[in-house]
């Protein structure tokens, strides 16, 4: 029986930790078991219970202090340390999670960890060897996607991480609740290649026409570049994103009915 994992990635401040906290709470409310794993050695304070925390193994603060490294050097050191201890420390922590459990990994933001340093790829490969179905959830702050060129920029940043991880991939535009007008986002959530191309050609200099064309085609042909909206204050919005991710990792398809799901006195919603 496979285990399931979400790898929550994206730039600093995009709302990864908030997402993890809210998904955890949401799942609690629908009586679903998920475990959050913190993989960010620079993380500070958690509002939600964390089942496994990299800071028990190594923390950025300690590394920076003891090895006199800067924030970047320190982070890379921590992640490489994790990579070295995947077999020992990490697999021990993972053994506690029986089949059919669902893990959410809150990852550090820095794109450098996905593009140049193999550590996260190695981590993902190890998860797969342990029979995890993994999905990458790329989080982007919707407030930055204010026009078509920034939307393309967001797609590129996401793709940049995605090509390295080679995982099913869901992009999320977070903090929808903070936008003054949600209307403008619609064209990015359900992009029409022709409209997109028209907008791009208007915003970019004429010499970019062919590049705009290639990008519009990419967006059109591959839904993996598309974004889902997330309003963290709205349970339905959280469930919507969760359902997409579950679908990507085929969660629930192998599930067997559990005894506790039956409520003989209540309304089952169907004849049995």
């Amino acid at each position: 029986m496979p285990r399931y994992a979400q790898l929550v990635i994206g730039p600093a401040g995009s709302g990864k930790s908030t997402y993890c906290q809210n998904v955890y709470q949401h799942c609690q409310s629908i009586k679903r078991t998920v475990h959050v794993v913190n993989l960010d050695p620079a993380a500070d304070h958690f509002e939600y219970p964390v089942s496994v925390d990299i800071r028990e193994l190594i923390s950025l603060e300690d590394v920076m202090e003891e090895l006199k490294l800067g924030p970047n050097g320190g982070l890379i050191y921590c992640m490489e340390y994790l990579e070295e201890n995947l077999e020992d420390w990490f697999s021990e922590q993972m053994e506690d999670y029986i089949d059919d459990d669902y893990l959410i990994f809150d990852c550090p933001g820095q794109i450098e960890l996905y593009s140049h340093i193999p550590v996260l790829r190695t981590f993902v490969d190890q998860l797969k060897r342990w029979d995890f179905n993994v999905c990458a959830v790329y989080m982007l702050d919707s407030q930055f996607v204010s026009d078509v060129t920034k939307y393309i920029s967001g797609c590129m940043a996401s793709l940049s991480a995605m090509v390295q991880l080679e995982l099913p991939h869901i992009n999320v535009l977070s903090k929808i609740d903070l936008l003054p007008s949600k209307r403008d986002l619609d064209k990015f959530l359900d992009p029409d290649a022709r409209l997109l191309l028209g907008d791009l050609n208007q915003q970019m200099a004429p010499r970019f026409a062919r590049l705009n064309q290639a990008l519009a085609e990419l967006v059109d042909d591959y839904s993996m570049v598309n974004f889902l909206p997330l309003d963290i204050t709205d349970e339905d919005s959280i469930q919507f994103v969760l359902s997409h991710i579950d679908n990507a990792i085929q969660y629930g398809e192998d599930a067997e009915p559990k005894a506790r799901d039956h409520d003989p006195d209540g309304d089952d919603g169907g004849g049995f």
Binding site: P11, A12, G13, S14, A42, A43, D44, L60, E61, M64, G70, P71, N72, G74, I76, G109, Q110, I111, E112, Y114, S115, H116, D141, Q143, F144, S146, D147, T149, K150, I152, S153, G154, C155, M156, A157, L159, S160, A161, V163, Q164, E166, P180, S181, D184, Q203, M204, A205, R207, F208, R210, L211, Q213, A214, L215, E217, L218, D221, Y222
Partner: protein, 385 residues
């Protein structure tokens, strides 16, 4: 964002040392008149080219900056140097303007209870609120300068995916010919998929900034960038290499390679070694070309956007005036309580967003002369901190 009890950044400090020798000998030209709007409508004299050095952490930005500064001096060009990395412990070069003189990143961390990344980002945010002063300082010297070199924070996303990074970039781009130099860690980009990942990210930066992009393949003393040039030149070869290196469907890898193939046509590249100094002449030649491209394309575009905005503002003012006259007529001279804001919003639904952002913009823009510029850049960048 609130600055609160935190001591406001001290006024811009400048170091005279790094400005090239030759500039000290040139005469201090009197400030040329720019016209009432404060913006030159015709470039009366040559402006310095601003180059913003961006790259992944460890790609060698700061070392490259050092090399660029040194070359500017040996080539008897006139340079001005800015450091925007608040967390760097020691710089190998002397900066004219250094964010560390104005914002103390460790204090920021303590004051706001932040981790190191939060501290760097907040430091940059604080500096960005005073950035019009920086631009003014550079503007005052622009007749004496050929290049303005800007070093950015270690981790790329602190600059590329932050409001302050956008504000700073746009502040330069709306005043000077500005070029983004994307530093590539050549030895680390040897695998086709890693190279692709890096190039896709660079493409994102091109779209985000809409400025000329100069790819600097750094560390060519460690790994020559010939492979990169071949991949950039030969679409089929690159696609084959990618398919070999990944599990992607040939359809997807082809689409991605196609995007990159077009991307390469829209940038310049140069192989450099910050350590040995190789590639400097080529770098500055391509930088100059990029500066020219800016003036031919982006400046024209910027002027067009400014003109459009002015037109929209005029139209809006006229619409508001007409609405006011209508209300006066309807009320027949009686006193009427106008719920002005709501009525205006109903009539100007399209302008909703612009209004809100202009309100926000007023919080930040202290300099009236820069108001137009600030509005433009906030609107373009959806500026929020």
């Amino acid at each position: 964002m609130e600055i609160g009890d935190f001591q406001a950044p001290s006024p811009m400090q400048e170091s005279e040392n790094a400005v090239s020798e030759s500039s000290k000998n040139s005469s201090e030209g009197s400030a040329e008149p720019f016209g009432s709007s404060g913006r030159p409508t015709v470039i009366a004299r040559k402006k310095p080219i601003v180059v913003i050095v961006i790259g992944m952490a460890g790609s060698g930005k700061t070392t490259l900056m050092h090399r660029l500064v040194a070359h500017v001096q040996t080539a008897r060009k006139r340079g001005y140097v800015l450091n925007l990395d608040p967390a760097v412990t020691s710089l190998p070069y002397t900066a004219n303007i250094d964010i560390r003189d104005t914002v103390n990143y460790k204090n920021v961390m303590k004051e706001y209870h932040l981790g190191p990344n939060g501290g760097i980002l907040t430091s940059l945010n604080l500096f960005a609120t005073k950035f019009d002063e920086v631009v003014n300082l550079v503007e005052r010297r622009e007749g004496e300068l050929d290049y303005v070199l800007v070093d950015t924070p270690g981790q790329i996303e602190i600059f590329t995916w932050s409001a302050s990074g956008s504000i700073i970039t746009e502040a330069f781009a709306s005043t000077f010919p500005t070029v983004v130099c994307y530093v590539v860690d050549t030895p680390r980009s040897l695998s086709p998929v890693t190279f692709m990942s890096n190039m896709l990210y660079a493409c994102g930066i091109l779209y985000k900034t809409r400025l000329p992009l100069l790819l600097a393949f750094n560390k060519v003393d460690v790994a020559q960038h010939q492979f990169a040039l071949e991949w950039m030149d030969d679409f089929e070869a690159f696609q084959a290499a990618v398919e070999n290196d990944s599990s992607y469907s040939s359809g997807l890898s082809r689409s991605l390679c196609l995007v990159l193939d077009e991307f390469y046509r829209n940038l310049r590249n140069v192989g450099v070694s910050a350590v040995t100094g190789v590639g400097m002449v080529d770098f500055f030649a391509k930088l100059d070309e990029s500066g020219t491209e800016y003036m031919q394309t982006y400046w024209v575009e910027l002027e067009r956007r400014r003109a459009e905005k002015e037109l929209r503002d005029t139209e809006r003012q006229q619409a508001n005036l007409a609405a006011l006259q209508r209300d006066l007529a309807e009320s027949n001279g009686q006193k009427v309580v106008l719920s002005t804001t709501r009525q205006m919003e109903e009539r100007n639904t399209e302008e909703e967003e612009v209004e809100e952002e202009e309100e926000e913009e007023e919080e930040y823009s202290e300099n009236d002369l820069d108001e137009e510029e600030s509005t433009e850049m906030f609107r373009e960048m959806g500026g929020r901190l």
